[in-house]
């Protein structure tokens, strides 16, 4: 096996993986934080593996619609330490960048607006204490300029969810 083959087989995939993780980390680092309220929507499906599954409450502007392939966007106005509500909801092509600089891109469905932030990883040890999504639960979301969003933390009445789960054990 020559150097070129070794490079392709071993180095190229590792470099590609590093590039993917690096781009994700950069996107997350450059994003803006918003706090969004969440609630459980199906008592049989709260925990899937090690993940808490929930529905994000974007406020009255976001309605449940039939599934569509066309991307939808919600505009947000970040509030320091307080929960945020959507200020606009519609097709991403109709979004006005001037009035809506911070937005989350997703898709509409019967389950509501889905943006890939509807689950949060928890260690297995706390799964018993988190059988239901507690009242007053919120998620801290890092919103990138591209409209992609990442959940960075989950809280229950302002307390990190793992601290809350430890107290419930």
């Amino acid at each position: 096996m020559n150097t070129r083959t070794i490079g392709l087989t071993v180095v190229a995939p590792i470099a590609l993986m590093a590039l993917w993780i690096g781009s994700l980390a950069l996107e997350v680092a450059q994003g803006a934080d918003v706090l969004l309220p969440v609630r459980g929507y199906d008592p049989r499906d709260i925990l899937r593996g090690h993940y808490v599954i929930y529905e994000v409450d974007y406020g009255s502007k976001v309605s449940r619609e039939s599934y569509s392939q066309d991307p939808r966007c919600v505009c947000l106005e970040p509030k320091e330490g307080a929960v945020t509500e959507a200020t606009w909801f519609g097709y991403c092509t109709d979004r006005d960048p001037g009035t809506c600089p911070l937005f989350i891109r997703g898709r509409s469905s019967y389950a509501g607006f889905l943006a890939g932030i509807e689950r949060f990883y928890i260690p297995e040890a706390y799964s018993e204490s988190l059988r239901t999504v507690p009242d007053g639960a919120t998620i801290k979301v890092r919103v990138a300029r591209s409209g992609r969003a990442y959940v960075t933390e989950m809280f229950v009445k302002g307390e990190p969810i793992l601290e809350y789960a430890k107290k419930q054990k």
Binding site: T9, V10, I14, S68, I117, P123
Partner: protein
């Protein structure tokens, strides 16, 4: 292993197949070879298993206290270590080279799952599968063992399957995506025939693309086509656009058929049978989507055409298997045909089975099919031996 060899060799001497002298030579060769391989690999295997289990236990016990950065750095260290070990074993140690190439390719799953966990990414399954396919492709192409190429091909089929069903906006969209996904097994088969006689792909990867290409064409497409024919309620997809989308799988099927017909080192009848199988399977799958107002045709007639198409496709597969002297595929194909005959019988005479006469007739049909299948099978065995 050596005990089995001794028993068999004693039988062969008794039957006069080999002489006492050749038997001694075989036993001497097998004894020296087996002791070298299995004792060494056994001891090393136990040691490595204990070491890896210990490391995994330590990491698992402290997983929650590790920071995200530490987890990612740890992952890259293990992935790079596997890569380094692979390069180290590349030329001299075949067994370890294959162990590390498989581990190296499969370990990308750990990286993808780790990133998904750290960033709470809730993406469709096909996204993760596609990423792994890209990352593991060089390793799968280089492997000289079956495992990684087979997993890669199975993941590729699963990937297009998930892509067809995840996120499709309507039934029409699902059918459109499924039609495009049906191209993959055709392209895999085309690649197998095109690379035959050319030293472009490793033999293990070629074997895997044929195995999974045929699996996609036969085991996935035929039940799907049977369902499409039976339900027949696809009038909403009978638009010009669906025919345009079907051009993609048809182009793939044409490429596969041409590749089969022009394959090197293959007999003429086998080439023709394989090309026919590809074209007939594609027609069977896509015709219910193309025929306008199929739902106006009587359900029994649609069921009959569905069952007939199923049997025809699998019969051509059985014929191709016999020509290629693949007894295993022939057995599977003829067993599936027998099962479909029985299912067709129950579909037509379902109510009769509750009566004694119905049961007698169905039992007789099953026995007749069994006897017919066994006769054909014997012929194939004779042919493969001859």
């Amino acid at each position: 292993m050596i005990i089995n060899s001794r028993r068999r060799i004693a039988e062969w001497i008794q039957q006069g197949i080999i002489s006492e002298e050749i038997a001694q030579k075989i036993l001497a060769f097998e004894s020296s070879r087996e002791s070298k391989a299995w004792i060494g690999f056994g001891i090393a295997g136990v040691g490595i298993t204990a070491l890896i289990t210990g490391l995994i236990s330590i990491v698992a016990a402290n997983w929650e206290s590790l920071s995200d950065g530490t987890k990612i750095v740890g992952y890259f260290l293990v992935q790079s270590l596997l890569g380094a070990l692979l390069v180290w074993c590349m030329k001299k140690r075949f067994f370890w080279r294959e162990v590390f190439i498989n581990l190296f390719g499969l370990f990308f799953w750990a990286g993808i799952a780790l990133v998904g966990q750290i960033y709470n990414i809730d993406a469709p399954v096909w996204n993760s599968l596609s990423l792994w396919l890209v990352l593991a492709l060089p390793a799968a192409l280089t492997a000289n063992s079956r495992l990684l190429p087979s997993i890669w091909c199975a993941t590729a089929l699963a990937d297009v399957f998930f892509w067809s069903f995840e996120g499709a906006s309507s039934d029409y969209d699902t059918i459109r995506r499924f039609s495009i996904a049906a191209s993959l097994p055709m392209l895999m088969t085309a690649l197998f025939f095109w690379s035959k006689g050319r030293s472009l792909l490793q033999e293990e990867f070629r074997a895997a693309i044929l195995r999974f290409g045929l699996l996609g064409i036969l085991a996935v497409s035929t039940p799907m086509a049977d369902t499409l024919w039976e339900s027949g309620n696809w009038h909403f997809v009978n638009e010009a656009s669906i025919t345009q989308h079907l051009l993609i799988p048809w182009t793939a099927a044409a490429l596969a058929a041409i590749a089969a017909l022009t394959a090197r080192q293959s007999i003429k009848e086998l080439k023709l049978a394989t090309a026919t199988l590809i074209v007939v399977a594609m027609a069977y799958l896509t015709l219910p989507l193309m025929i306008p107002a199929l739902d106006r045709v009587l359900e029994t007639q649609r069921m009959f055409v569905g069952a007939l198409g199923f049997i025809v496709v699998w019969s051509i597969a059985a014929a191709s298997a016999a020509l290629a002297e693949r007894k295993g595929l022939y057995d599977v194909a003829s067993f599936v045909i027998a099962c479909r005959f029985i299912v067709a019988y129950f579909q037509v005479f379902g109510s009769l089975t509750t009566t004694g006469v119905g049961l007698v007739i169905s039992g007789a049909v099953i026995l007749a099919i069994g006897a017919f299948w066994d006769r054909l099978r014997r012929k194939v065995i004779q042919r493969t031996r001859g």
